[in-house]
């Protein structure tokens, strides 16, 4: 049997007054992490919660004695088993990483080398550091694969990364991290890139792994409901500073600070907000999609016999997991991907399949907003150019009039008028998405297609964007086609919902009806997979599913 290092008990990690700084191009020092302290005992999981830029990952990496390029640990101590990691030599750091502290990243696809088998990569650390021989590593790896509920654990390692699913690869990364039996695991948003239904299984595996091995762990995430399932204690971070720290129940149920309360309230709203009423505003559909079939190349239909209709003032959400054909449907509607069969009617008139064959007026009345505002805005143009172009293009306005209209639109999206001269890189992520909304509004459309427009944003920012959209809809009566994988968003904004699975529509109707029993089995699976903030949610779901078989 493998020689197992005696499992450490008691305090594993003690971080005191940690300070990390970065030096910018212009030589200014920026403090990324300011006076952070925490301890971690064996078998304990500390959740690090915060929005992007809060310093979660920077703290996580510092426990591997690592700082990203340009960053430096400039103060405090990181004590692992009582010795400070900051004092380690290069060799010392090498024997620390992967052996005593291991890291599990967000994207397993990027962490695995596609040219080697999973087993080779899982075994690498243990073999390289001479901790075990090949036979021992093999046994340990198989045992880990089994613990992580991977299929055919005996032969799973013989596969290459592309031969397994995303969720399986994410679990394989956990096996890679555990192979050297580290004392500390750092999970950095390990389930963020996964679909909800996959996330449940992966979370369950991680939880079991931590529990059985009594490993101390840092769990970094922006999702309060995920951290509720797995963490004993939670630290809330904002802008590199600690907001508060406490037990999981304490933080989630009686948050002490305003900021934490806002985060929790946002999440509660996603879970519990009442359904939007099905206010059938218009009588005639603005947009009708009838039995549409579409494919990229070859014979496989990416969407197959899909029908929806959107009325004035409607918000129809299209939900489904990645690969379900949601975005393809949007591309068919706007004409980027010509449909193969079926019809798309706009204002009762059939739209030509190809974008190039549609009239300028038809193009104006359907607008689109994208997921990544960073690449949806031309970095070389000012907001005046970006928002003003549709005004000039569709309505032929003169320069002075365009400017007035752009100022109006900026006001509508709550940006100050002097932003008119700014370029996209001078804006935050949420502001950029507002500009995309303004650009769409500038065309005075009847329907706006929103393709995952809040998924790249932090929850609080996303919430503001949703509020803005609702206000705009009340003011203008514009209809939204809202493509998303986030069911909390659907609940808050959509009066109608269509559920897609592998290119087919499995449910379609008013949100309240689709999301209440009797469900379509897939809708039920989706709904039950969305994490809730109750700490016992995960165990309940698992036991319910086990009973159901």
């Amino acid at each position: 049997m493998a020689q197992v290092r005696p499992k450490a008990e008691g305090q594993i990690l003690d971080v005191r007054n940690l300070r990390i700084e970065a030096v910018t191009e212009t030589g200014q020092r920026v403090t990324l992490i300011d006076d952070i302290s925490f301890t971690l005992n064996a078998g304990e999981v500390l959740g690090l919660i915060g929005e992007s830029g809060a310093g979660k990952s920077t703290i996580g990496l510092s426990t591997l004695a690592y700082a990203r390029t340009g960053c430096q640990i400039t103060g405090g101590q990181i004590m692992l088993h009582g010795s400070d990691l900051r004092g380690l030599s290069v060799r010392g750091r090498q024997s620390l990483r992967g052996v005593k502290v291991a890291y599990i990243a967000q994207s397993a696809a990027a962490a695995f080398n596609p040219a080697h088998t999973i087993f080779d990569q899982v075994a690498e650390v243990a073999l390289k550091h001479g901790l075990m021989n090949r036979a021992q590593v093999r046994m340990d790896a198989i045992r880990l694969f089994r613990e992580l509920d991977l299929p055919n654990p005996d032969v799973f390692g013989k596969r290459y990364p592309h031969q397994v699913s995303g969720g399986q690869l994410q679990r394989a990364m956990a096996a890679m991290a555990m192979i050297a039996k580290p004392d500390l695991l750092v999970f950095d948003e390990p389930t963020t890139a996964l679909d909800v239904t996959t996330q449940v299984e992966v979370l369950a595996s991680f939880k079991k792994l931590i529990r059985e091995h009594r490993t101390a762990a840092l769990y970094i995430t922006h999702d309060l409901a995920v951290v509720a399932q797995i963490a004993d204690r939670i630290m809330v971070l904002r802008g590199g500073k600690m907001v508060e720290q406490g037990t999981a129940t304490q933080i989630l149920q009686q948050p002490g600070m305003d900021y934490t309360r806002m985060l929790v309230a946002e999440r509660v709203a996603a879970e519990q907000s009442r359904f939007v009423e099905d206010h059938a505003a218009g009588d005639r559909p603005v947009l009708e999609v009838k039995n549409v079939v579409a494919a990229y190349r070859g014979t496989v239909n990416v969407i197959d016999d899909v029908s929806i209709d959107v009325r004035r003032g409607d918000t129809l959400a299209i939900v489904g997991e990645s690969g379900s054909g949601k975005s393809t449907l949007a591309r068919v509607i706007v004409g980027l991907l010509p449909r193969r069969q079926g019809d798309v009617l706009f204002d009762a008139a059939s739209l030509k399949p190809r974008l190039q064959d549609r009239s300028k007026e038809q193009l104006r009345r359907i607008q689109m907003i994208y997921q990544m505002p960073d690449v949806a805005l031309n970095p070389r143009q000012t907001l005046l150019d970006i928002i003003g172009r549709p005004v000039q293009f569709y309505f032929g306005k003169r320069r002075a009039e365009v400017r007035v209209r752009v100022e109006e639109l900026l006001q509508q999206i709550d940006l100050p008028p002097d932003y008119i001269k700014r370029r996209p890189h001078e804006l935050s992520g949420g502001q950029k998405q507002r500009v995309c909304i303004a650009r769409a509004l500038a065309a005075e459309p009847d329907i706006i297609i929103c393709d995952e427009i809040t998924s790249a944003l932090d929850p609080l920012v996303a919430d503001e964007i949703l509020r803005l959209l609702r206000r705009i809809q009340d003011d203008t009566g514009v209809a939204f086609l809202f493509i998303t994988h986030d069911l909390g968003t659907v609940r808050r904004i959509a009066n109608k919902v269509a559920v897609m699975l592998k290119g087919k529509m499995v449910a379609n109707g008013p949100t309240e009806q689709v999301f209440s029993p009797p469900f379509h089995p897939y809708t039920e699976l989706l709904l039950s997979s969305v994490p809730e903030m109750r700490p016992d949610w995960l165990d309940e779901v698992l036991s319910r599913r086990r009973k159901a078989g």
Partner: protein, 275 residues
């Protein structure tokens, strides 16, 4: 140092000064050259003196004046060839990236064929077929180098056309010219500008190489390449004369490269840092 929000480095300043000196000297040659470049005025390979700063060449003409005048030809031909290469290369490159399909296929395969034979071989074949002269040199180098520009323009534009702001412009119904001139080109410009500098260097060296081989500019006119050739015999005699035009070639090449490096470093930095 920062001027108007743009970071200026020492390399950029030195490179610009070198380019200005070379180009300025070439343009202003008739006014600043101390002597007639084609008039023998002393002994063969006389050493530098206060009267003749870089000495005399193999038939006793003032070396410094000849370098100034030679620059007009070297730089002028290289510049015209580079401009030609860019007009052809950028247009075909953008067309390939935007339309894809058989257009991309056709241009790319033609490019592969041209690239499969060394440039100098092509040039020798063309020049021995059509004879030599300024026009044919510019056409030859320009068309050979348009292939390289095509490859750069195509790959840069390929990265830009897939971005969503380009798609947003297409969805708006914008015409092709707007999409190219307002959405794609401004974002492809920094790497193309850098390629322009590098391509100019190569064209300039190509002109010099052709002249050195005797296929370029014919006497009594001379560019820097042919001047190296004419006085090459001096090297075994321990005379520095051929090194002066060679140094001019090297100097301008280094100057342009310094500016190109700076341009590329600006491009690779995140948007927020330089705009």
């Amino acid at each position: 140092m920062r001027v108007g929000g743009i970071r200026i480095t020492l390399t950029a300043i030195i490179g610009t000064l070198i380019i200005l000196a070379c180009v300025g000297g070439a343009i202003l040659a008739p006014w600043v050259a101390p002597h007639d470049p084609n008039l023998p005025m002393g002994g063969r390979w006389d050493p530098p003196s206060p009267e003749h700063w870089l000495g005399l060449d193999q038939i006793g003409r003032d070396m410094f004046s000849r370098i100034l005048y030679g620059g007009r030809i070297s730089i002028g031909l290289a510049m015209l060839a580079t401009i030609l290469a860019f007009v052809v290369g950028v247009v075909t490159g953008l067309a390939a990236a935007i339309f894809g399909g058989w257009i991309d296929m056709l241009f790319s395969r033609v490019a592969d064929v041209v690239l499969s034979i060394p440039n100098l071989m092509w040039a020798l074949i063309i020049l021995s077929g059509f004879g030599t002269g300024a026009t044919i040199i510019v056409l030859t180098i320009g068309s050979l180098y348009s292939v390289y520009v095509f490859r750069v323009a195509r790959s840069v534009a390929m990265n830009v056309v897939v971005l969503e702001y380009v798609e947003a412009a297409r969805l708006r119904g914008e015409g092709l010219m707007w999409v190219i001139l307002r959405e794609i080109l401004p974002n492809a410009l920094p790497p193309l500008a850098a390629e322009f500098g590098l391509r100019f260097c190569f064209a300039f060296l190509f002109v010099a190489a052709l002249s050195f081989l005797g296929l370029g500019v014919q006497p009594p006119d001379a560019d820097w390449g042919s001047m190296v050739k004419e006085s090459a015999l001096a090297i075994p005699a321990g005379i520095a004369a051929p090194l002066y035009p060679a140094a001019a070639i090297a100097l301008l090449t280094i100057g342009v490269n310094m500016v190109v490096d700076w341009l590329l470093s600006m491009y690779s930095r995140p948007q927020g840092e330089n705009a």
